[in-house]
Amino acid sequence: MPTIYIDNQPYTVAPGLNLLQACLELGFDLPYFCWHPALGSVGACRQCAVKRFKDEKDTRGELVMACLTPADQGTRIAIDDPEAVQFRASIIEWLMLNHPHDCPVCDEGGECHLQDMTVMSGHNYRRNRFPKRTHRNQDLGPFINHEMNRCIQCYRCVRFYHDYAGGTDLNVFACHDRLYFGRFEDGALESEFSGNLVEICPTGVYTDRPFKRNHTRKWDLQTAPSICPHCSLGCNTILGERYGELRRVRNRYHHQINGYFLCDRGRYGYDYVNSERRIRQPLHFQRGQAPAVPLTVEAALSKWTAMAAKGKVIGIGSPRASSETNFALRALVGPDNFYAGVSADDQRGLEIVRAILADGSVPATTLQGAGLSDAALVLGEDVTQSAPLLALNLRRMRFRKAAVMAAGFQLPAWNDSGVRELAQLNLPNLFIAATHATRLDDEAWRTLQASPQELVRFGSAVLAALEATAPPAEDVDAVTAMAWETAQALLKAQRPLVATGFSLCEPGLLQAAAAIAAHLKAKGRDAQLFFCLPEANSMGLALMQPHSLEKALAAVAQGTAETVIILENDLFRRAQPATVEALLAKARQVVALDHLTTATTVKADLVFPAAPLAEAAGTLVNNEGRAQRAYAVMPPSGTARASWRWLQAMAQAMDRKGLENWKSIDDVAVDLAKALPVFKPITELSPTVSVPTLDGKLPRQSHRYSGRTAMRAHLSVHEPKPPADPDAPLAYSMEGFDGPQPPALTMREWAPGWNSEQALHKFQGEISGPLQNADSGRRLITPAASAGPAPISSAAPVKSLADAEFQVVPMTIIFGSEELSIVAPAVAQRAPGPHVGLGPDNGFAVEGQAVWLRIGDLLTEQIVRIVPGLAPGLLAWPVGLPGMPTITLPAVAKVEQ
């Protein structure tokens, strides 16, 4: 551990840091712009200058950029040296020559890194008397607002968007003091990670566009820590509320999961909470007749009592509802009557993944861990669409490979420009096999596009090649050839990764991935697995091992169940319309709980308004099996409440015992852990357990929160008592626990002098390490190695295709396939309309052409979009896209003339 001297005081620092990191970790305030913990150093802004001395006798010293200078043993620097101080102030003076000084009307104001650094640097007097240059702004689409005049040319946007996230349509133009950061022409930013520009940009060039409609200063937002509900990765988020409206989502740093970044679906999908489709009070439908009749809570519950008296009740759970809520339903109807709310294929896939992760030998890696792989196989999954942050992390592989090479030249990994020089010609050992060309293919060493059946065959071939002693003959087919190459790369790696999922509904892919990883593990490699699951709590639901949806259908069809409770689930997304219609028609009584009006809720007899995650705490289990708790940012709207509370009330109404003692979500968690021991660790999520120092609640409102009385003055001048929230260690108040926010509860990165998200380092023990050196969330499953890998079930064969016939394969689309985010107008704007995908040389249709398709009984007219690289003979069916009916696989589509 090197010792460095700052202003003649010795400090021990971690090895391999640069001086800027070292100073920040030691708690010194040193301003910077172009450095970013995830992007490394390039030395462009010159803001981080310090004085360095050769030795004790050197009194003159020289200015160096802290971010580009290693914090080596014996380094002597002065931060407060007058020359360094003056130079740092000059940087701001220069940046301000053209900056519009429009903080009062700028969305970034109050959480602006440039404001912070200006104050920190001490520049305050303007000497420039010449006119400022101005720029024209661009329309960058629904997510990002552009205001180029505020730019301070730190290059962070391009370095993130282009170099880090692999986006190609944002860049820097022109030269000298006329630099322009933007697109070639107006138009929506194409990268799935564009929203991070809001946080990457140190000033107000890129701001959150949906937030702009109802902009609220940072300190006026009520905030809470949450978990993204839009996919299975469990990225941590911070929600911001004002006037009962969820106004924005920001990244909440988690060192093992999302790190510093979110995808655009996670950032902009929140608007479903504010949607007109929200259900805010109980509703009663006359069978088949709209409109619904609103009910009071009492009336609804008494209606329920009457319904429950009539025969057997079964419950259908949900992969997007919290674990507590699913458990409450299970407790209400009894384990035997608790059914998974997912299709049979999904159910089977989930069970396979659960078994692999619980009983196999290879652990599920974290998102950050995936990026540390030195070889990876992505099998049958377009991860940019189904698990966006995985794609972002796999993009790190190339950089890591170069960083290893750089170490050979004594070049530290934080030297971004140097490492990138090495990275540009060095693709990593990333192998991608999918039905079509994916957005990550530009990072891949080799890719393969094939049908699901062929992909399973490819998986088996990789497995076989791991054992093979001789390379295949020259003339083998592409699948075998690539399998050999893939296997060799995986074998050569120290930390090989196999990532897959079941977007294609192909259990064989899951088994092949598990078998390959297990094989590598057995050979002594630090093998890792990564499964992309369909929804935010798919794993939580799987761990409850419910019966399949098909069994529920059967129970209703056979008349053994009179009443069906459908929990936060639109069954029309799970099975073909006719099947669901039949179930709903056959069931005597249907009760639905949900946040939004869906095709299912309008067919129910009784609907309870379920509070979404923004309004009710809940625990989600992500794809690696990590349980994390999300907290409400605002009280439920109308008479909505957490579904488990409705279920508790329903139990009471029908005199069912076992749920009556639940006062808070922690009580539910305790019972859940009792009933299903695999959930034991979630009882540790309770802040009273995980944060022993926490005596009292943390305020959701900042110490500068304004207008508490005024914002309600048109209703009453009396300030009401803040609502209680027994489910969170958080208060709807400005008052409360004044200590540090525990890692799982970080909801405002804010420290003296640091008002922007760059304050984060004040919450980390080391830069990019865990928050306060503590992990958050709890892993529920770790491999027991009790079972060897299951055999790879061969893929469901397709009947041989006749002329004009295509095999239908599901295709996941980041903006469109997910149920809740597509309700957000900004996301909907980025979603494609209903369509089917065909390969470039399909012989039937060109981009934009309408075709009639017959799929089983279904005859439908669809617009064709050309999907690059889609394997011949396949027709891609965008799953979940509004306007696209759910179809059951396997299926064949025939183009009708």
Binding site: H162, T168, D169, L170, N171, C175, F184, L425
Partner: protein
């Protein structure tokens, strides 16, 4: 659409580098030689030929002085505005040129014959003041000489 000749020349330029993209500057210069300037559409076509995003290529194109992203006249006059020519009185010459052509710096004559652009030192300091028209360098300029030179460009 790139012409077959342009395409051929671009492919030939690629052979000089380890990465396709590296030929971007050569490719821009090639199309500019054929078309005088690089329009947005042309830039898109060149980018496609190099498998680049237009933004990435335009980022490069707009960095350099001599990739013209706006239409220019049939002949481009680069007048040296650097120190030796300045000492030798280029400012008077510039005034003369502008009066003669009836245009300011950066503009194109109405008949589309000339575009007048400033340029850094042409490396003809011993023959200052100097200018370049298209590929030809002219030194030791004075007003009369300029008039005669302009006459030779139609």
């Amino acid at each position: 659409m790139l012409s077959p000749t342009e395409k051929e020349e671009i492919v030939a330029a690629m052979a000089h580098y380890d990465l396709k993209k590296a030929a971007g500057i050569d490719a821009l210069r090639i199309v500019q030689r054929h078309r005088g300037w690089v329009s947005d559409d042309t830039l898109r076509d060149v980018a496609a030929a190099l498998a680049m995003d237009p933004a990435e290529l335009d980022s490069v194109a707009t960095f350099y002085n001599l990739i013209f992203r706006q239409p220019v006249g049939r002949h481009v006059i680069l007048i040296c505005d650097s120190v030796s020519c300045w000492v030798m009185g280029y400012e008077n010459l510039l005034e003369h040129l502008q009066r003669r052509l009836g245009i300011g710096m950066g503009q194109t004559t109405r008949d589309g014959r000339f575009t007048l652009l400033p340029h850094v030192c042409l490396g003809a300091c011993d023959k200052a003041p100097a200018m370049m028209i298209d590929d030809e360098l002219y030194g030791c300029l004075d007003a009369e000489k300029i008039d005669a030179i302009l006459e030779s460009y139609k």
